[in-house]
């Protein structure tokens, strides 16, 4: 056997031999342990994520142990991301997975980015509690920008549309009644849908936020939306159940705005 050994190793080969033996033994024990746990733990994944066990972040779900957005008055910079596949949401970069996002909810899912760190992005989420956020891996998403921003002012009952920081439209709108106020904070255009059961608007733009006084409404989870209204006398009034009712010409403009576009709702 010595003949096989290279010259530098000749003096220390017994050491190496014993290492080899016990390393093999260790290897075997390790592999046996691995086989025992293989059913529950993906060995090759750096972070074990069981997507099937994670709650999907949708307008219908309530998340737990979710990081809350504490910067509710600052406009995101317009970066929006679309998950290519169902992907996990983490409570911090390289942290614990607590939920997942799917590539489609109301059409394709686009979420606004509010922070980044290394290869991680923090995004606003459409779930309760309002202000839900999560971190996802930048490699799992398609990134794009929206030049638009929507501001809703509850005191003046107006909606302003900005493009590249320039105001390009302002409308008098209806906002939530005092008993069912429109929630303030930063949220985003979550989707665009046509619901044949709701005849008040040709198209509805659900947002990533919810009524804080109505846990459910009409069989839904209390999702706040921007939509039209058949009676123009409501515009400028605080009369809705939380939604933002806008004139037809505003709706025509807003339906062309990319999903994920930030919506800032303020008391002013």
């Amino acid at each position: 056997m010595n003949d096989q050994l290279s010259a530098p190793s000749r003096s220390s080969w017994p050491i190496a031999l014993v290492i080899a033996l016990l390393a093999c033994a260790g290897l075997i024990v390790g592999i046996k342990q691995l086989h025992r746990t293989a059913d529950t733990t993906p060995v090759s994944a750096p972070v074990p994520v069981h997507l099937g066990k994670l709650t999907a972040s949708t307008t219908d779900t309530r998340l737990h142990r979710v990081p809350i957005d504490h910067d509710q008055r600052m406009a995101p910079n317009g970066t929006v991301v679309h998950p290519r596949h169902t992907t996990a949401l983490f409570d911090s970069p390289s942290g614990h997975p607590f939920a997942k996002v799917r590539p489609k909810e109301f059409g394709p899912t686009w979420l606004p980015v509010i922070a980044h760190a290394g290869g991680w992005l923090r995004v606003l989420l459409p779930s309760r509690p309002d202000g839900s956020t999560g971190w996802l891996q930048a490699s799992k998403v398609r990134s794009a920008t929206t030049p638009y921003q929507i501001q809703v002012h509850l005191a003046t009952r107006t909606l302003d549309l900005f493009k590249d920081d320039n105001e390009i439209g302002t409308w008098s709108v209806a906002v939530g009644a005092p008993s069912t106020p429109t929630p303030t904070g930063r949220t985003f255009l979550l989707g665009q849908l046509v619901d044949d059961n709701q005849t008040f608007s040709p198209v509805i733009l659900p947002l990533g936020t919810h009524s804080r006084t109505l846990d459910s409404f009409g069989g839904g989870p209390g999702t706040v939306a921007i939509h039209g209204w058949t009676d123009p006398s409501v515009f400028g009034q605080a009369v809705s159940h939380g939604c933002i009712r806008v004139p037809a010409d505003a709706l025509d403009r807003l339906r062309l705005i990319p999903l994920g576009t930030p919506v800032l709702i303020t008391r002013t």
């Binding site: 056997m1 050994l5 290279s6 220390s12 017994p14 050491i15 031999l17 014993v18 290492i19 080899a20 016990l22 093999c24 033994a25 260790g26 290897l27 075997i28 024990v29 390790g30 342990q33 691995l34 025992r36 746990t37 293989a38 060995v43 972070v47 074990p48 929006v80 911090s92 970069p93 390289s94 942290g95 614990h96 109301f106 059409g107 394709p108 980044h116 760190a117 290394g118 990134s143 794009a144 920008t145 030049p147 665009q192 849908l193 046509v194 619901d195 709701q198 659900p206 009524s211 409404f217 009409g218 839904g220 999702t223 706040v224 939509h227 809705s240 159940h241 939604c243 990319p258 999903l259």
Partner: protein, 315 residues
Amino acid sequence: MQHLMKKKGNPMKLKRRFAAAGGALALVAAGASVALIGGASSSEAAGSPSSAYGLEATGLIPVQATPTVTSTTGKLVKDSLVSLPSNPLLSGGLVDAQAQNGAAEADVTNLDVGGSLLGQLTGPLSTLTTQLKPACTALNSVSLTQVNNALSGLTGNLSSALNQVTGSTGIDLSAVGGLNLNNLLPAQLGGLCDALSGKVGLVHVGAITTRCTGKTGSVQVTGLRLLGLPSSIGTAPNSSVSIPGVLTVTLNKQTQNANGTFTVDGLYVDILGQQQLVVTSATCGNVRSASKPKPGPKSQAPVPHPIHTKAPVTG
């Protein structure tokens, strides 16, 4: 080696914990606190960045490189692993990694590899270790001849023991089966005894620092013990001991990479060609526009198309 002990003072450092999930070797970063530093950016500059990591295993038991830092902007990036909770392969250890344009470094202190495995041996190999223990306890009172005779007896059992193991795991141990254990000196056997009793791991590293600067690399190591025995391996580039096909232990393994970067692996262990372990690795590269990373071009988000669905909103 004093610098190896300086582990505090930079508040920008990422600190994480190493954990084994479900007893397997997947790594989980828990309780992460994050600071944006140096290369933290969603965009990448041109060129090949410097990078470093503390530990990596590939093969039958993979452990992803951790902690890993990559200086995508060229600025200094650091990461630390502050503790290694119980797992079957690695224990102890304080691991640092840092990288910037043209330089990278990885440090590991007080690391044991495979220590806890020895306490869990079962079956034929457990029998082998049990047979060695009397020789350990009698080390000071028996002659070298007696020790060697005892080891010869073990060797006879080795092939059949390994065959049984091979049958149950699918690992090819044929290269080990033909070896003998006869040439151990008492001092060496003493080290082996320490390993068997769990006092030391298969590999113990007191402190190892691996650095690269441009195209040069260096390794400083203290307290390197292989199976409890002081190592005789030098730290010149690509110093190694090997039993062909069975085991290779290399210090200061240097590699010139195809993309122009240069890598130094501090300690590289290959077992049976089926399991590899790297303790500290530093890769030197350079990225341009290090001070001003430009965001990559982004497309504008698409105009949405309404979908038909029933989704009550607040009205």
